[in-house]
């Protein structure tokens, strides 16, 4: 299993040809308290870099983009009742959806944990 990151602050954990996606702890801190998370329905075909989910704080709605293309196999239903899970455990229990990866080549160019840390450090 390997975890990658995007410049838009999504993380993706790859396990064979399937993967789990969420937003990073840095992202949740920037958003503040989340009040609503809209995750994609099972079966949705997602395209790399296109909208996959929406997160809402009180005064902002932000899109979450899919790090890779693929088909959604499972959505995190717990977020519907408890969007705060993303604030408390963004990179764990607050995952958004699982998908089957359409093209493993799309993982090239994503950051590993170290690169992402450097990237975030450069933002402040």
């Amino acid at each position: 299993m390997a975890r990658f990151f995007t410049a838009e602050h999504e993380w993706i954990e790859v396990d064979g040809d399937s993967a789990t996606v969420g937003i990073t702890d840095y992202a949740q801190a920037q958003l503040g308290d989340l009040v609503f998370v809209e995750v994609p329905a099972v079966g949705t075909a997602l395209a790399k870099g296109k909208e996959a989910a929406v997160v809402e704080s009180v005064k902002a709605a932000s899109d979450v983009y899919s790090p890779v293309s693929g088909t959604v196999t499972e959505a995190n239903g717990a977020l519907e009742d408890d969007p705060a899970l993303v604030n408390s455990a963004a990179e764990g229990e607050g995952w958004f959806y699982r998908l089957t990866i359409a093209d493993e080549g799309e993982l090239d160019g994503l950051m590993d944990e170290g690169a992402y840390k450097d990237f975030v450090a450069g933002l402040d």
Partner: protein
């Protein structure tokens, strides 16, 4: 000038602080070619309060107001007696001259009122939740259609023939630009609604069925049957209520299976006002809350734990979502919502039921009396406070002739359906508690005269 507090010495002193030579100099960014150098010529100059009032009063006197004549118009706008305290309360400056309650710490008055209003509307309509109001019934109805498209991801819109033609027109206009397909045919002057004819047209592409209740002819469609058919095809039932007082007598659309109930709230508290401002009502099921258009007020607490109210779920709205908002609407009809809410609070359950019963009693009386006029036939088998008559002549001409005699007889279907000559004999008559038996007799006598 009475509304401008600055004096010339003030202006001079302020210009000095700013470092400008004159007020005109502050407009230097306006291209010189377009800049006006003095008041626009040919227009009147300022006038005192007495002069303006005289002018407006003269214009008002050129109208025949409902107070001055036996009055029977409805068709989407109803005249009810508005208690004096309603107008007093909505003129309190703290309501009248407040803005949208974006600073909840100093706007609890408006916010709590809206929360109460939302609850009143939800209960009246038999729904889980309601919003803080919209422009009017027709625009609220269109917003419901847009919401149905968002929820069902379909875009074929089936309108019942009894939907107010202005509402139909509003929707058809908008649909032309949004690509929704509107399916509609005007009504026949028949005793009851043809639900079967509507239901068979629901298909797998239908996002919603829009049904007015009571309908434009005052008839009472069987919402339960339509809801069942719509739901079987995965479509939503949108009920449109243009006379909310009716819901003090008849079952609510929510209770009968409607998924969205919209309406025109003008009948309670707002008044006729020649068509506006009115009050759009919008209510739906809890599960559709995040798909709802318009402002919403919610309950919460403040930092000391005190119950407080605040505008909420605003991420649906244009100022955050911009081109992805649920609607471009950025206002509600706050003061009209207040008038509605105050009136409904004064009535209460007991008063609303009594008001509805009195409307129905007088309408039954009028229907029987008018149906006996030679050349007049009552169309409806059931109704609340409005029904259709079939005249043996052109109803539009009859209405004009009666108006010339100081009698405001009703709304001719010829005015509402100019393209449907077979409806030309149709006359809609609304009877509220503001009419008395003498008025009904006058109308009967007048009709007898003009039809003779």
């Amino acid at each position: 000038m009475r509304y401008l507090p600055l004096t010339d010495p003030d202006r001079t002193a302020m210009l000095e602080v700013i470092g400008a030579s004159s007020i005109d100099a502050l407009f230097a960014d306006v291209p010189e070619a377009a800049r006006l150098t003095g008041p626009i010529e040919g227009l009147p100059v300022h006038a005192g309060e007495a002069a303006v009032e005289r002018h407006m009063a003269r214009l008002a006197a050129r109208n025949l107001s409902a107070a001055e004549a036996p009055f029977f118009l409805g068709a989407g706008a109803y005249r009810h007696h508005i208690p004096a305290s309603v107008d007093h309360l909505i003129q309190r400056g703290e309501f009248l001259t407040a803005y949208t309650p974006y600073q909840p710490e100093i706007a609890q008055g408006t916010l709590q009122m809206l929360f109460e209003f939302q609850t009143q509307v939800a209960r009246l309509f038999g729904c889980d939740v309601a919003n803080a109001s919209m422009y009017d019934g027709s625009t609220a109805a269109w917003e419901a259609v847009v919401m149905a498209r968002r929820i069902t991801k379909r875009s074929r819109v089936l309108l019942a023939d009894g939907l107010h033609p202005h509402y139909v027109s509003t929707m058809a206009t908008m649909a032309r630009f949004t690509g929704d397909a509107i399916v509609y045919a005007p009504p026949k002057l028949a005793a009851s609604c043809d639900e079967d004819a509507l239901v068979v047209r629901i298909d797998e592409d239908t996002s919603c069925v829009v049904v007015q209740y009571p309908d434009i002819l005052g008839r009472l469609p069987d919402l339960e049957a339509i809801a069942e058919a719509a739901h079987q095809s995965g479509a939503l039932l949108i009920a449109v209520v243009t006379e909310p007082v009716s819901l003090g007598a008849i079952r609510s659309p929510g209770e009968l299976g409607a998924d969205v109930v919209v309406g025109e709230g003008q009948a309670l508290g707002v008044g006729l006002q020649f068509g506006g401002p009115y009050l759009g009502l919008f209510a739906t099921r809890e599960k559709f809350v995040r798909q709802m258009p318009g402002r919403l007020t919610g309950e919460t607490v403040d930092a000391e734990g005190k119950r407080s109210f605040v505008l909420t779920l605003s991420t649906r709205e244009q100022h955050i979502r911009r081109e992805r908002a649920t609607s471009n609407i950025c206002t509600n009809s706050g003061l009209c919502a207040l008038a509605f809410s105050v009136h409904l609070t004064l009535l209460g359950e007991k008063g609303l039921r009594a008001l509805a019963a009195e409307n129905h009693r007088l309408a039954c009386l009028a229907a029987d009396r008018l149906g006996k006029v030679p050349g007049v036939e009552l169309v409806n088998t059931s109704f609340f406070n409005e029904f259709a008559l079939r005249l043996n002549g052109d109803a539009r001409k009859a209405v004009r002739a009666l108006a010339d005699r100081g009698l405001l007889a009703g709304v001719s279907l010829g005015r509402l359906y100019p393209d449907q000559p077979e409806l030309g004999g149709g006359l809609l008559v609304a009877v509220t508690e503001t009419a008395d038996e003498e008025d009904i007799d006058s109308l009967a006598a007048g009709l007898e005269d003009v039809l003779a």
